[in-house]
């Protein structure tokens, strides 16, 4: 399938009927062919840090009836963003936050974070989240607590990923029409 095939389909006839023949996956693949970039690969995190980030992200946005942060590749994206967009101080704080996971877990469970079971890991992260929330309540969350940073990156990485947008939020590239007032519960084959 060529991008120009999409252009032809879009250029002829009514939008909805012309597009009906193109599955969303193929439509999106066209965009990638024309404008795709190599997927970002981990470059900053050590293997251990990448595993910690992966577990923390999956605890924040777990797999439920839809895929979670792990399937969305959030840890790899986090690595890219921390390496490319954080200033040196932010980066150091973030890596320190990851590195502290083991110490916090040992104190609470007697096990390094990755060896703890999921309820234990949740308990460790809950403690960190509570610490962050109390700072926020006190107006002292500046620079932001590690939990708020890792959660922001997780939400951003997940809800801008293909699975996050299409499977979790029902986003589709080409809705084909606009309706200003629809029933939230009503299934929409075209997505939002």
């Amino acid at each position: 399938m060529e991008r120009r095939e999409l252009l032809r389909a879009l250029g002829l006839g009514a939008a909805t009927s012309a597009l009906a023949g193109l599955g969303p996956t193929r439509l999106l693949a066209l965009g990638r062919e024309a404008h795709g970039h190599a997927a970002s690969t981990g470059r900053l995190f050590t293997t251990h840090q990448a595993e910690l980030a992966g577990v923390v992200a999956e605890l924040i946005i777990p797999t439920t009836d839809t895929p979670g942060a792990r399937e969305a590749g959030v840890a790899e994206f986090m690595d890219f963003m921390v390496e490319r967009t954080f200033d040196p101080e932010e980066r150091a704080r973030f890596l320190a936050g990851l590195d502290e996971m083991d110490g916090r877990s040992l104190r609470l469970t007697g096990l390094p974070f990755l060896e703890a079971n999921e309820p234990q890991q949740t308990a460790v992260l809950s403690g960190i989240a509570a610490e962050a929330e109390s700072l926020r309540q006190a107006g002292e969350d500046d620079p932001p607590h590690f939990f708020h940073v890792v959660r922001e990156l997780t939400l951003f990485g997940y809800y801008t990923s293909e699975v996050g947008m299409t499977e979790e939020l029902g986003w589709r590239m080409i809705p084909g029409s606009y309706d200003g007032c629809v029933d939230l519960a009503q299934p929409r084959p075209g997505g939002f």
Partner: protein, 562 residues
């Protein structure tokens, strides 16, 4: 200079105004050369509206390092993002200067299509409330035209490009030739109804009037509601010159479009008292060349057209071609924007929207409409609209895990935003001149901009915020947060004036047909010509004035008066 070439007409610029000049001049029989400083773009390759966010390395946040280095001004525009930054100039190659205490943001696009590629697409007619404004309060000079003279040209332009909107019968915002309006959403309909109850027809919230077609029109396909028009549109469902006016010009067989052609200056013949052509620098090779024509249309954008005239000084016009009035460069305007308020509209939690509407609401000016009632002069209008908040609210609440994720799947409350755009008074102390110490990549002197908001613009911004709060309260909103952003002039990207139209050659640069008083075969039809700014988005008025000026120019040529 290289070889000379002859044309009937030269149009400088291929954007919103240049595309219209090209279409009208070609259709009226003139062999027309369109000179565009930037490169051509190929919609099939360069438009990126269907590239999903997950295919962008920074997921839409952009490479800030590159933006800081190359587009430190342009990045202030919302559309200069990870997808669209390629449609904006490189600020290092295109310098301009301003006073340290008077920042001005000059947002520019140099490519075939100009800024029509990534413009905001909102189109509102002016009324005589606007054309009579200068005469009424004494700022600036009187417009040499009234609504009745431009109305048929609004019709002409709207029929061709396709405008969607709702007729409302408001005297200060004349209705146009509308295709079917887009829907207001649930919360916007609610606010419209509450405001009608509270204010009657004085405050009618309507769907934005926009150059996005809601029905197939002129061989172009109706909008498919993918959302980000500013990244291009492969179905040409919004108006830009590449998809609409330039093809019409090309269909006549009389169009020559020459990209990568940086116009340096106009050539003026003292004996004939006419401009005879333009000097062009090839953007890539730096080779220079002259092109000649019987008439010249400057459509390079307000400040570029004026810069070109300033850089075309002659012994007779020592301060810039066509500047016997001394007004060239003066009376720079931009809409003051960013007073407003947000609030939550309770209820309607079972309802949402389908599709991504590339349009918002409009609430026409209501201050000083029936008389001078307010402490400020002139007025403002609102854009904005309602939407349910999304996953981003997860950053503002405690929590993580399955319940947290599930909560974010359902959209949050309806939030409504009234964002104001105000009229800017024309004053001579807001002006541009050539900066003789700075040149651009092609050796052309840069502009030095002197521009700041005055007391009236600041009063408008505050009133926008106050009135937005009052209306949100009337609509039953909660959690109302007013704001007044301190945004520099220029960033609204409605820069106007610096070569104003007027009746008197002693106080204006252009006449009622956008024709230079001093050099009658030069026409300036972009934002530079504007005598006042109104508060409506100006592009449709440039288009109508351009078409009108082109018709007049051809009549003059036919009568051998040029």
């Amino acid at each position: 200079m290289g070889r000379r070439q002859e044309w009937d007409a030269i149009v400088v610029g291929s954007g919103i105004s240049g595309g219209w000049a090209a279409k009208e001049l070609c259709e009226r029989g003139l062999n027309t050369l369109v000179l565009e400083a930037g490169p051509p773009i190929d919609p099939a390759v360069d438009y990126v509206e269907h590239v999903p966010v997950w295919d962008m390395p920074y997921r839409g946040r952009g490479n800030q390092e590159a933006l800081e280095r190359d587009q430190f001004i342009q990045k202030e525009c919302y559309a200069c993002d990870e997808w669209g930054s390629k449609f904006f100039v490189n600020d290092r190659e295109n310098p301009y200067t301003f006073d340290d205490d008077k920042p001005f943001h000059w947002i520019r696009g140099r490519q075939v299509g100009g800024r029509s590629i990534m413009w905001g697409r909102q189109v509102y007619r002016w009324s005589d409330l606007d054309f009579e404004a200068n005469a009424r309060d004494g700022y600036g000079v009187d417009w040499p035209i009234r609504y009745a003279e431009i109305a048929p040209w609004y019709d002409h332009v709207e029929r061709f490009i396709g405008i969607s909107g709702q007729a409302e019968g408001l005297p200060q915002l004349p209705d146009g030739q509308f295709l079917a309006p887009m829907d207001l959403n649930c919360a916007e309909t609610h606010v419209r109804e509450r405001l009608l109850e509270a204010y009657g027809r004085d405050r009618v919230l309507t769907i934005g009037r926009c150059a996005v077609i809601t029905e197939n029109h002129g061989g172009r396909q109706a909008c498919h509601y993918c959302g980000p028009c500013e990244r291009g549109c492969i179905t040409h469902s919004y108006f830009n010159s590449i998809g609409v006016t330039l093809p019409a010009a090309n269909a006549t067989g009389r169009l020559t479009l020459r990209p990568n052609s940086v116009v340096h200056s106009l050539v003026y013949d003292e004996e004939r008292d006419r401009a005879t052509g333009v000097r062009v620098i090839d953007a890539a090779t730096m080779a220079t060349q002259e092109f000649s024509a019987r008439i010249i249309f400057l459509c390079a954008s307000a400040l570029e057209s004026t810069r070109l005239l300033l850089n075309s000084a002659t012994p007779r016009f020592s301060t810039g071609l066509g500047n016997s009035s001394g007004e060239l460069g003066r009376n720079l305007m931009d809409h003051c924007m960013g007073g407003g308020a947000r609030g939550t509209i309770p209820g309607m939690e079972d309802q949402t929207t389908f599709g991504r509407r590339p349009n918002g609401i409009y609430l026409a000016r209501f201050g000083n409409v029936k008389g001078q009632d307010e402490d400020y002069l002139r007025g403002f209008a609102y854009q904005g609209g309602a939407g349910r908040s999304g996953w981003g609210r997860g950053n503002d609440v405690p929590g993580f895990g399955a319940d947290f994720k599930h909560e974010l799947r359902t959209p949050g409350p309806w939030r409504f935003n009234f964002f104001g755009f105000g009229e800017c008074l024309p004053v001579p102390t807001n002006y541009v001149e050539l900066d003789n110490e700075v040149v651009d990549k092609w050796g052309i002197p840069a502009l030095k901009v002197h521009c700041q908001w005055g007391a009236n613009e600041r009063a408008l911004l505050q009133a926008m915020s106050d009135q937005a709060v009052t209306m949100l309260e009337a609509a039953g909103a909660t959690d109302i947060s007013p704001y007044v952003y301190d945004l520099p002039p220029g960033l609204t990207i409605h820069e106007m004036g610096t070569a104003r139209m007027g009746r008197d050659p002693g106080t204006s640069v252009l006449n009622a047909h956008n024709q230079c008083h001093d050099v009658p075969n030069v026409f300036v039809t972009d934002g530079a010509c504007m005598t006042s700014s109104a508060c409506q988005n100006p592009s449709i008025t440039y288009m109508a004035l351009t078409a009108r000026a082109a018709a007049h120019a051809v009549e003059l040529l036919d009568r051998k008066e040029l």
